[in-house]
């Protein structure tokens, strides 16, 4: 997954100190399964399902990065109930305190558990536009999640974004011998996407700027997303944790299927607009979605979003 063996050795050598500095407790029976994709970098893999009471909103990948002094969590999960289990799973792996919660964007599967981490003293990081977007949508999301998840959503509140990252100025966050680079992006998947690079292991935590297996959702700008992907591809990482998909994948190769889907979507919608086909006609006979999971609702929604954006070109 991460290329030649020599790279892997060099990589592991580089972070060997970290593993020692962050002593691991044996997980007895972690409530939430975690995969350690690089030393001290844990991923909980979300399920490819719609929101259900059974999955408690746990459809997105969640990450914990352990430094010698502190832990940073990237994305808080789809409900306080899931977040509490995530917290427990992290505590089973390290005794370092969770000092930082980084939110990659405002969607409910990523933010609904945020209060749980904040209550434990984590500072909340996000895109400069996250606070506004979060407050704007929270009541709608919360109402929908109450309906879809039931009791798991109890206690979910919008959190204040205490540390802000602007598009112009990336920020660094030191967990103690382990630096994270946070970068805010122009409108792409949403209007407040943030990515994180764990420098020591060369791992990009892409949030929903990268979907793998599960169909991408266009909630920001299709053209913007394609542009951002060009720049994203230049990030010198070896591994990526997608917002949805496997725990890790090779970077930047993992971008290819999503790029193909979004480019095909843009091409099909542009053809329809140029040929005078209405949105409803296009939706009645949509271009194929490929073999993406959960496309039956999301593909038509993407077509709608793309049409609305591209008809003004």
């Amino acid at each position: 997954m991460i290329g030649p063996a020599i790279d892997r050795r060099a990589l592991l050598g580089g972070v060997a100190g970290l593993a020692v500095a962050a002593p691991l407790r044996r997980a007895e029976a972690a409530a939430l399964p975690l995969v350690e994709i690089a030393p001290g970098l844990f991923v909980h893999v979300g399920v490819h399902e719609d929101f259900t009471p059974g999955n408690r909103g746990g459809i997105a990948n969640l990450v914990a990065i352990v430094g010698s002094e502190a832990v940073a969590v990237v994305d808080a999960g789809g409900s306080p109930a899931q977040a509490r289990d995530f917290l427990e799973a992290i505590a089973a792996r390290t005794d370092r305190p969770i000092r930082h919660l980084i939110l990659t964007h405002h969607h409910p599967d990523h933010v609904m558990g945020a209060t749980v981490f904040r209550a434990r003293g984590a500072r909340v990081w996000g895109h400069a536009r996250l606070q506004a977007s979060l407050l704007d949508r929270f009541p709608t999301y919360r109402a929908a999640m109450e309906r879809l998840l039931g009791a798991a959503i109890e206690g979910a509140e919008p959190v204040p974004i205490e540390e802000v990252v602007t598009i112009e100025v990336p920020r660094r966050l030191d967990l103690g011998g382990r630096v994270l680079e946070l970068r805010a992006w122009p409108t792409a998947h949403t209007d407040c996407d943030l990515s994180v690079v764990d420098v020591a292991t060369g791992t990009l935590i892409a949030g929903d700027l990268l979907f793998s297996e599960r169909i991408p959702v266009v909630d920001g700008s299709l053209r913007g997303w394609l542009r951002v992907m060009d720049e994203l591809a230049r990030i010198p990482a070896r591994l990526v944790v997608p917002g949805h998909g496997p725990a890790s994948a090779a970077w930047p190769e993992a971008l290819a299927p999503q790029r193909r889907y979004l480019e095909d979507l843009a091409a099909a919608v542009r053809r329809a607009i140029a040929g005078g086909r209405s949105l409803s006609a296009l939706l009645a006979d949509p271009p194929p979605a490929g073999d993406w999971l959960l496309s039956s609702d999301n593909h038509p929604r993407n077509i709608t979003a793309a049409y609305k954006e591209l008809e003004w070109e």
């Binding site: 709608t140 005078g276 209405s278 003004w312």
Partner: protein, 270 residues
């Protein structure tokens, strides 16, 4: 009203062939519709419009803030017999009357397309008012929610930067003597008064189109009374049946008193 008794008889005959003909439709006599009928049609009889018009709307909307609907007229517009207005109603929206489309016989076809916001699961109704004043209704149930209070998709500055810009989509060939479908887009944020400003945390005051007047060679063709249930950047699909080349002029105004005017020369090359 009885200028065209023959046309009227023909319409009634069509309607009488149907089971619910001649009566206000009893099957879905929910109170909401009763209220709408009283408010918008002064309790005039509203007949079953099946066979005269069709309403195309998705059973389940993919984006509640952008639901494309078409009202298809199943007979041509002629000076002797035509649909003079189509009322588009969304029962459970905060402002249930999305728009009224007033249509001249020179449209050739009364079929119209637009995009609406749907705030919760609701019947959507098209009521056609024929030249003799009779009302005919068809309805579809649409599952969607949150369309009126959904966050505005762009930031306010960006939304106002394109304010009033228009785009007219014309068929590849413009045919004299038959209805040509035109699709008009007008950039307007259509703030419903139910959205929150992301920065100030205040409600964004309502700001939406109020009227769209379209003329063909100076003669009224289509006039739309619009409201907040029309989606952001409203779309209006309509028809014109021209005798030859001509000028299409659009004058739109919003509730803040802004006026947007644009015109196009059509049919010169075909």
């Amino acid at each position: 009203m009885n200028r065209h008794p023959l046309a009227r008889r023909r319409l009634l005959a069509t309607a009488l062939a149907l089971p619910a003909a001649g009566f206000a439709l009893p099957a879905f006599a929910q109170s909401q519709w009763d209220v709408l009928r009283e408010v918008f049609f002064e309790n005039r009889p509203v007949l079953d419009g099946t066979g005269l018009i069709e309403l195309e709307a998705p059973a389940r909307a993919h984006d509640a803030a952008l639901v494309e609907v078409t009202v298809e007229a199943l007979f041509p517009q002629t000076p002797e017999r035509y649909i003079r207005a189509i009322h588009l109603l969304i029962d459970r929206n905060p402002a249930p009357r999305a728009a009224v489309f007033k249509l001249a016989p020179t449209t050739g076809s009364a079929s119209i397309t637009t995009r609406i916001r749907v705030n919760e699961y609701t019947p959507v109704r098209a009521v056609a008012e024929t030249d003799d004043g009779a009302l005919f209704m068809v309805e579809r149930f649409v599952k969607a929610s949150g369309g009126c209070s959904a966050p505005a998709s762009k930031d306010k500055e960006a939304a106002y930067a394109r304010l009033g810009k228009m785009k007219l989509l014309t068929p590849e060939r413009f045919h004299a003597g038959e209805p040509n479908e035109l699709r008009l887009l007008i950039s307007h944020p259509q703030y419903s008064g139910m959205q929150i400003d992301q920065l100030t945390r205040n409600w964004i005051p309502a700001d939406h189109l109020e009227t769209i007047r379209i003329t063909w060679n100076g003669e009224p063709l289509v006039e739309v009374e619009a409201d907040i249930s029309l989606s952001e950047d409203p779309l209006l699909g309509f028809h014109v049946k021209p005798e030859g080349p001509g000028e299409l002029r659009v004058e739109a105004s919003d509730i803040k008193g802004r006026r947007f005017v644009q015109s196009w020369q059509l049919g010169a090359g075909s």
